[in-house]
């Protein structure tokens, strides 16, 4: 289950008719089971990169391979968790989670069992028959995680999934996503603009420059988990990464 991004560039026509280069020559290899954060200032094209990997957008140049197979559109092999709430509000929590299984034609009893399993995994066992509007933001994102995992994707893509949450919930969700990741050992690509978040979560941090988004550097971080956000290792990496971002923006 290896994810390969090969020379991906994205150009589009902006509002004033001029071509805008959002991404330039992005190449990246992610081995199975790794937790990778894509970090960059807003507008650097990190969400675009994730959407290209997900098959939701086509790159202008380059390609994305999953296990040697080119991605040419959205596929359940690449699960995605969106920043804004993407749950179907007319479906109960359990039916949201089993949506992908339903599409694949899985038997009713089997998909109920699988959905329950993932519901328990994200710690919402008691909310099977609740509707999304009855849940808090953090709970909704947990359901979204369960829904994305239920179809057993090779790679899980997360687009600033905790961006809309308050700081406390955000920290709790970060710990929880690591627990889930340790249990499932999925390959994770996690987009964020928060250096803190990336340092807490990632095996590797891909730092992008501001527009056009290029890879500034890939920082490897081997500090064992659970990490202490205030440890020397975390602080040093945070300083280093912040430095990279400032340089990338041409500022400070």
């Amino acid at each position: 289950m290896k994810l390969v991004v090969e020379g991906v560039s994205k150009e589009y026509v902006g509002n004033n008719g001029e071509p805008v280069v959002a991404l330039k020559g992005i190449s990246l290899e992610v081995p199975e089971g790794e937790f990778v954060c894509i970090l960059g200032p807003s507008g650097c094209g990190k969400t675009t990169l994730l959407r290209i990997i997900a098959g939701l957008e086509r790159p202008t140049e380059g390609r994305v391979l999953v296990d040697g197979e080119e991605v040419d559109g959205p596929t359940p092999r690449l699960g995605m968790i969106f920043q804004d709430y993407s749950l179907f509000p007319w479906r109960r929590v359990i039916d949201n989670i089993s949506f992908g299984l339903e599409l694949a034609g899985v038997e009713k009893a089997d998909r109920a069992a699988t959905a329950r399993e993932y519901l328990d995994l994200v710690g919402l066992g008691g909310f099977a028959s609740a509707y999304p509007y009855e849940l808090s933001g953090g709970m909704r994102q947990r359901v979204a995680v369960a829904r994305a995992l239920a179809t057993n994707p090779a790679v899980v893509l997360m687009d600033e999934p905790f961006g809309a949450l308050d700081a406390q919930t955000r920290n709790a969700m970060q710990r929880e996503i690591l627990e889930i990741w340790e249990k499932t050992r999925k390959t994770v690509l996690f987009v964020t603009h928060s250096v803190d978040e990336a340092v807490f979560l990632a095996d590797r941090i891909v730092v992008l420059t501001a527009r056009p988004g290029r890879i500034r550097e890939v920082a490897t971080f081997s500090e064992p988990r659970p990490r202490n956000r205030t440890s020397d290792g975390c602080a040093a990496l945070r300083r280093y990464v912040l430095g990279l971002i400032d340089e990338g923006q041409g500022g400070a």
């Binding site: 359940p76 699960g79 995605m80 993407s86 509000p89 007319w90 994305a148």
Partner: protein
């Protein structure tokens, strides 16, 4: 004095009965006017209307009972309404989903929408002859546009994230339409259906006044007019109003039960 009235108006028990104040005043005014005018061909007394309403199964002037005529009208409106909705919903979804369909169809919609369904009566008679066919045509036409426009609105209100989430979970186009776009648009479509039913109900009564009709509430009213049975006309109007109210109530109930998520979703 004003304070006393305020107390009465806002008091615990009175609060639930406030809605009844104006209708009761209306009935009183009607009765007083009827007594003063003293001409049942202009304004019948309440009792004479009530006595027509009290015997809903009695045949009226040989045209069948109130219940019979009401059920005939209901059947017609249901057929016409279903035909109109069955055409409008798929077209609305197609227009909302594929831009080229909208570009293609929209000019015709804009041209035909302002034409009142009743303006089609002569053509309807020429094409479908007198009878169910022409009535269904008129009613379906009346129901068609509100359903179409609301369906279009509803499809446009479907969040892009829902569609993209479904795609990353493996949804193909047909699955997207059936499992995401349709349920996502359904609350808005339902509003359209409610509006459409109101219009369809008006259309059926008017359509039943077309020449050659021999049953239905619209016919009953027109027929009673020819015999100067004003109390039957008013009774017929009341039945029309009550049925319209009842059906709207049912549709609202469904709305508040099934589509609560639209209001509660942030």
């Amino acid at each position: 004095m004003r304070e006393g009235f305020g107390k009465l108006w806002n008091g615990g028990g009175a609060r639930n009965l406030r809605w009844a104040v104006l209708p009761i005043l209306f009935l009183v005014a009607w009765e007083i006017a009827a007594i003063l005018i003293d001409n049942p061909f202009i304004l019948p007394r309440i009792e004479s209307v009530a006595s027509v309403l009290a015997t809903p199964f009695a045949s009226i002037l040989g045209t069948g009972s109130l219940v019979h005529n009401a059920s005939v009208s209901l059947q017609r409106v249901l057929v016409g309404f279903l035909v109109g909705a069955a055409l409008a919903i798929p077209l609305g979804i197609a227009m909302g989903r594929w831009e080229f369909v909208e570009e293609l169809v929209n000019p015709l919609v804009q041209i035909f929408r302002p034409v009142p369904p009743l303006a089609w009566v002569p053509l309807a008679l020429a094409w479908f002859r007198i009878g169910l066919g022409s009535m269904v045509f008129i009613i379906a036409l009346g129901a068609f546009f509100p359903v179409l426009l609301n369906t279009l609105d509803g499809v446009r209100s479907v969040k892009r994230t829902w569609i993209e989430a479904a795609m990353t979970l493996g949804a193909r186009e047909r699955q997207l339409l059936v499992r995401v776009i349709l349920p996502g648009a359904l609350p808005t479509i339902w509003t359209g259906l409610r509006v459409a039913f109101g219009i369809a109900w008006m259309c059926v009564v008017a359509a039943e006044m077309m020449p050659g009709t021999s049953s239905g509430l619209g016919y009953l009213i027109l027929y009673s007019y020819n015999f100067s049975q004003v109390q039957v006309i008013v009774a017929g109007m009341i039945v029309i109003g009550l049925i319209g109210l009842g059906i709207d109530f049912c549709l609202r109930q469904v709305e508040s039960r099934w589509f609560r998520w639209r209001e509660l979703e942030r």
